[in-house]
């Protein structure tokens, strides 16, 4: 059979609940999110329009932090080609490619741009 049986895990809903390692409570994550929004607002309002393009490409590179999650998915490994495990690896691989383009492209192009902003000699 081309598609392994465990591909069906895709469609099965709530198999048998297993207790997961401790997660940070939602409220704590929310607090982190809200406080970070304020920090971001305060810091970024001070950036002059002169540097708004590098700000965009630089912050873009920072949003490539999804790379962290992508690596975990890509490194999870598989034993059979037609399996959910392999599907996770493929998604992970693509995510790593996308996020790395974001990170490497973002920081490099920002560096190129910023290198051109010069004072008068």
């Amino acid at each position: 059979m081309l598609v392994g049986l465990d591909m069906l895990v895709w469609a099965t809903v709530e198999a048998q609940p297993v207790q997961e390692a401790a997660r940070t409570p939602l409220v704590v994550n929310l607090a982190i999110f809200v406080l970070a929004c304020f920090v971001g607002y305060e810091v970024i309002t001070k950036i002059p329009p002169l540097l708004h393009t590098p700000l965009m490409s630089g912050s873009n590179a920072i949003s490539g932090i999804t790379l962290v999650g992508s690596l975990v998915a890509a490194g999870s490994g598989f034993t059979a080609i037609w399996s959910t495990e392999a599907a996770i690896s493929i998604l992970g691989f693509l995510a790593v490619v996308f996020a790395t383009i974001n990170v490497v492209g973002g920081f490099l192009v920002t560096d190129r741009m910023l290198g051109m902003f010069k004072r008068k000699e």
Binding site: V18, P49, L51, T53, N60, S76, F117
Partner: protein, 475 residues
């Protein structure tokens, strides 16, 4: 691989988040900005290094080619593509580049959330409601960002099919319908968090929505769109942080989200339009030729390079006003050359940069910096406007709507109330333009017919080089 406690990795994540904040703080000044960017890159490198042991621990019993192999392959492929893009891109194409990068960020979020969903199924974990909600949000925001950004990229690159918005009947009802389907699938996906097919369907519909939302938005509104997509890519990363329970994603995502929101607000303010109006209100440019003839008839004075050179001879202060047309004509180096020549002859030269000049926030600044104009000479609107009355010559190159006095005088104009550069207050205004065709707003510009305005009809780059030539010959 040594067995590193996860707490250590999380401490490194915290350090990375702090470095990102420092990175943005140092972007506040051109002197520290280069180091700031490197600080951010260092933070990212640390975060990646801290993640690899965590990633490999998951698949400890699996063949190494399927763990480390996949991981490294992804890093190498992505790294090469990213580096090639960043090194080869022209400065005039920076808006496209940023749009594309936004898209990849959003795409990564969709994929990570999808992988996590499968992972939880495989391990037989129950999904709490907040994780389910965050997964839906990652999928929705990420997919809209990815495909929206691709459309923005195609429009900015001016690919054949995307030069004009693709017209089809009932655009808004179709968007509304897609929105409803997204809501329905999102709710279903939220209630059945283990169902991969529902998530896939949701992502597909959101992809279509991303296409149809950005499709009708025109060129001059691109700064807002890019800023918004930037914000979305951050929010998608934050949502993914909630999915995989990782604070560094939440913090970084929030920082980027805030940045995008601030920039879109600034852009909207600079066009005196609301965000809703930019996204849903298709700018109806009515070609009012009768009115244009009435304004221009017999009043437009054409000029030549020689005449402009003579003007500069007696000028003490000259202000250049660049717009998107300068980028199109690739005239930034010529403009810089002319500015340097005028300065060497004792003329005070400055540049007036409107917030929405160009196709993305700060577009003109990057181009002029590339052409080696010192950044002290690039002045913001509020700073330069009071100085136009003491300016001998204002040279408008490739800008139109941002110098249209109708914004101040005609309350019925589509650009009424938009803050503009007051070039008309200068003693003489030179407008370099190919023809009298209207700008993005599709309205005539009385500036072109004003008593103190001279029109130089030519390609921007050639015009400037001719003026340089004329000045050198006259001297």
């Amino acid at each position: 691989m040594p067995n590193i406690p996860w707490e250590l990795s999380y401490l490194v994540y915290l350090l990375a988040a702090v470095l990102f904040i420092f990175c943005l703080k140092m972007l506040c000044h051109p002197r520290t900005a280069v180091r700031g960017n490197l600080t951010g890159a260092l933070g990212m490198l640390l975060a990646v290094l801290a993640t690899v042991p965590l990633a490999l621990k998951e698949g400890a019993e699996k063949p190494i080619s399927s763990t480390l192999g996949v991981l490294l392959a992804g890093l190498v492929v992505g790294g090469i593509i990213g580096a090639v893009l960043a090194i080869r891109v022209r400065m005039t194409a920076m808006p496209q580049m940023v749009a594309l990068l936004n898209g990849f960020g959003g795409g990564a979020s969709v994929l990570v959330a999808g992988a996590e969903l499968l992972q939880r199924n495989l391990k037989g974990l129950s999904t709490p409601w907040d994780v389910a909600l965050a997964t839906v949000l990652s999928g929705v925001i990420g997919a809209v960002t990815f495909f929206g950004s691709l459309v923005a990229f195609a429009k900015l690159e001016e690919y054949r099919w995307f030069r004009k918005p693709i017209r089809y009947p009932a655009q808004q009802p179709i968007n509304a319908l897609l929105g409803l389907i997204v809501l329905g699938l999102g709710a279903a996906s939220f209630l059945h968090p283990g169902n991969g097919w529902l998530y896939l369907a949701l992502v597909v519909v959101c992809s279509v929505l991303g296409l149809t939302l950005v499709n009708p938005i025109g060129g001059a509104d691109m700064p807002v769109v890019i800023a918004m997509l930037n914000s979305y890519s951050g929010l998608a990363a934050a949502a993914t942080g909630f999915v995989i329970n990782n604070a560094v994603l939440i913090i970084s995502g929030a920082l980027v989200g805030a940045s995008g929101v601030i920039l879109s607000q600034l852009m909207c303010k600079a066009m005196n339009r609301s965000l809703v109006n930019v996204i849903f209100g298709v700018f109806t440019a009515e070609e009012d030729t009768a009115k244009a003839d009435e304004i221009y008839a017999g009043r437009v004075k054409a000029t030549s390079a020689e005449e402009i050179a003579m003007l500069f001879d007696s000028a003490r202060r000259v202000v250049f006003v660049p717009g998107y047309g300068m980028a199109v004509a690739q005239a930034q180096h010529a403009v810089s050359q002319l500015a340097a020549l005028l300065e060497s002859r004792g003329v005070e030269v400055e540049f007036a940069i409107h917030p929405v000049a160009g196709r993305m926030p700060g577009h003109m600044n990057v181009l002029l910096a590339e052409a080696e104009v010192p950044y002290e000479k690039l002045k913001e609107m509020d700073e330069i406007n009071p100085t136009f009355s003491q300016t001998d010559v204002a040279v408008v190159i490739g800008a139109n709507d941002v110098v249209n006095p109708l914004a101040r005088t005609d309350p019925n104009s589509p650009i009424a109330g938009m803050p503009i550069l007051d070039v008309d207050k200068a003693r003489t205004v030179v407008v370099i333009k190919r023809s009298l065709s209207p700008g993005f707003a599709g309205i005539p510009n009385p500036l072109f017919a004003a008593d103190n305005t001279l029109m130089y009809f030519a390609d921007g780059k050639k015009a400037i080089l001719d003026i340089v030539q004329a000045i050198k010959e006259g001297a």
